[in-house]
């Protein structure tokens, strides 16, 4: 029976994750308010990536999910990264 054996995430863990997400939001607004050129895009996307990782890991419980599901989620992001890479290579060399 695989029904409802899932791990229960404690309230304080969820609270801490929210705190981190809020701090990251504040950080990304502050950093991008300076003119850093191409750097600000990189930093903003890195911070967004970290926030997404936190949401996936704790809010969406991936930390306690099966290896199969974690591999599936990971491969979707790898697939998307490849699509971006290939499209930009295409645009750069045409």
């Amino acid at each position: 029976m695989a029904n409802n054996v899932s791990h229960i995430t404690e309230y304080r863990v969820l609270g801490k994750v929210l705190l981190v997400l809020m701090l990251m939001t504040f950080l990304t607004i502050t950093v991008t308010s300076f003119d850093l050129g191409a750097f600000s895009v990189t930093i903003a996307l890195l911070i967004a990536g970290f926030k997404a990782f936190m949401v996936l890991t704790y809010f969406m419980h991936l930390k306690h999910e099966s290896l199969l599901l974690r591999i599936l989620v990971g491969s979707v992001f790898v697939l998307f990264a490849l699509i971006i890479l290939i499209t930009f290579i295409d645009y750069a060399y045409r």
Partner: protein
């Protein structure tokens, strides 16, 4: 399962329905992923226009909406925790707060879009075709992406409303909370998409 023989075996597999929800989430991620790709390509082609257009957006409204969604993402996760711990009252309260945050998000969006409409910027307006290509692309993508996201917010709200009633009448309980779990996953997806929409649309300029 000590009471296994006391009632008829049910046909249910929570693990499989969760996997199904995740597969659906993958299609949603790639749907928005495609739009992000289009945005990135045009952004690199019309850098100046995208930069100037994004200054039209209010970072304050965007930030308030970000906070509202992050907070609601936590409350819906807490609703699931509460349900798993059989704390029905807290679960109801947390779903309620989540819905309240969603309403705040939509009200904000209404004012934000309303301001653009007043300026004559909306899909199909007489002003839009007169704009330079870069500006036209930015605002078209802005309306399409935030609009599609707002549609997801509304769908998520309907889903969570159903969860609210089912928790209330006991159909969702501490033994059977698959629908709430999957509804929460959907809500986190909406948050996840906004995490990328916010810096790309509002901040990077």
């Amino acid at each position: 399962m000590s009471e296994k023989h006391s009632h008829v075996e049910e046909h249910r597999d929570d693990e499989a329905s969760k996997l199904g929800m995740w597969l659906f989430i993958f299609t949603e991620l790639l749907l928005f992923g495609g739009l992000f790709l289009v945005y990135s390509i045009f952004r690199s082609e019309y850098h100046e226009a995208f930069h100037k257009s994004s200054l039209e957006l209010s970072v304050t409204i965007g930030a308030i909406n970000t906070i509202a969604l992050l907070f609601s993402s936590m409350t819906i996760a807490m609703a699931l925790t509460a349900m798993q711990k059989n704390n029905k009252k807290l679960a109801l309260l947390m779903i309620g707060i989540t819905l309240f945050m969603a309403v705040i998000f939509l009200i904000n969006k209404y004012f934000e879009w309303g301001h653009k409409f007043e300026m004559g910027l909306y899909p199909g307006s007489p002003l839009m075709p007169l704009l330079d290509r870069g500006y036209l692309l930015y605002f078209s993508l802005y309306f399409f992406m935030t609009g599609l996201h707002a549609l997801h917010i509304i769908i998520g709200m309907i889903l969570l409303f159903i969860c609210l009633f089912k928790v209330k009448n006991g159909t969702i309980n501490n033994k059977r909370y698959s629908l709430l779990e999957n509804g929460a996953l959907y809500w986190h997806l909406v948050d996840l998409i906004w995490i990328f929409l916010f810096p790309l649309m509002y901040l990077i300029s």
